[in-house]
């Protein structure tokens, strides 16, 4: 009980992950602008965003442990943790040169598909039930739709539009996660069953 009171609210965790996605977006956007060759001139820079993605996957495990209240919720968070680590690890392998096939970029596409499916499956309410439900549907379909960008990177690894697309995807994730509140209306709609709106 005391531990539960000490924990930050779920919405704060969403905002911290949103900040992580802003960082990822900036890294990917600058890589797309200057090109892979310039970006890779300092070896540590090549590992930056994949390592960050991997780290966010690792941090998703404590979120799964401490912030989920049902099995389906826990499984969804667990799957996000695993696919984020998978995507990060595959990109790290590509950056290091241990993995050579550009098709490994498709693991990020797979991660987005799984994450999108998990978020849609674990959201039991309709779009306009409350804000969190709306955002879950929105982020789920965004993830599924934007899974095409890493796939494009797998087909044409040096095409900056694919990297820009991934950066834009992460910006969208950040905006959606920053919009999250505990219980809040969406476009004036709030189901009676959602509970009392909080600040």
């Amino acid at each position: 009980m005391i531990a539960a009171q000490l924990l930050p609210k779920a919405e704060f965790v969403h905002w911290w992950f949103a900040t992580g996605f802003v960082i990822l977006a900036l890294l990917l956007a600058s890589e797309a602008i200057v090109g892979e060759e310039v970006w890779g001139r300092r070896p540590w820079r090549r590992y930056l965003w994949p390592a960050f993605m991997f780290g966010m996957g690792v941090l998703m495990f404590p979120v799964m442990t401490f912030f989920t209240s049902s099995t389906i919720h826990m499984v969804a968070h667990g799957s996000w943790a695993q696919v984020m680590m998978l995507a990060g690890a595959a990109e790290l392998g590509l950056a290091r040169g241990k993995l050579r096939s550009p098709w490994w970029h498709a693991s990020t596409s797979f991660a987005l598909l799984v994450a999108g499916a998990a978020v849609l499956v674990h959201e039991q309410n309709s779009w306009l039930f409350e804000r969190a439900a709306f955002l879950h549907h929105l982020i789920g379909w965004t993830a599924i739709g934007c899974s095409v960008f890493p796939l494009l990177k797998a087909v044409r690894p040096r095409w900056p539009a694919a990297t820009f697309g991934m950066a834009a995807t992460f910006v969208a994730f950040a905006v959606i996660l920053y919009c999250d509140r505990d219980i809040a209306p969406i476009f004036g709609h709030l189901s009676y069953f959602a509970g009392v709106p909080k600040r």
Binding site: P8, A29, V34, E37, W39, R41, R42, Y178
Partner: protein
């Protein structure tokens, strides 16, 4: 000097100079965009703070708990933009011009 010879000189030197300035101007253009990323992000955070000031609990801290005071999303965005500009961008821009010089 005959006009024909002068024309030959111009045609041999001009394309080289043009290629040189093209590589540099391309680097300059890209550098400008990368340099703008951080400030644009920070500006987005500032605009957000102005539009939704209630999301900054530091502006009305009385009665707020620890987590509410720590969670300041617009400031996070500003901080990310500033840190990106200060820590990463100088190296990226330097490498951009170094690569352009090598291409020349």
């Amino acid at each position: 000097m005959s006009a024909d010879i002068a024309h030959t000189f111009r045609s041999t030197t001009h394309p080289y100079e043009h290629a040189e300035s093209e590589a540099r101007s391309d680097a300059r253009r890209r550098a400008r965009v990368v340099l703008a990323l951080g400030p644009t992000t920070a500006l987005a955070g500032v605009v957000w703070a102005l539009v939704q000031p209630w999301r900054l609990t530091l502006l009305h801290p009385l009665g707020q708990g620890f987590w509410w005071l720590l969670a300041e999303p617009p400031l996070y965005v500003v901080l990310v933009g500033v840190l990106f500009r200060l820590l990463l961008v100088p190296g990226i821009v330097a490498d951009l011009f170094a690569a352009a010089e090598e291409r020349e």
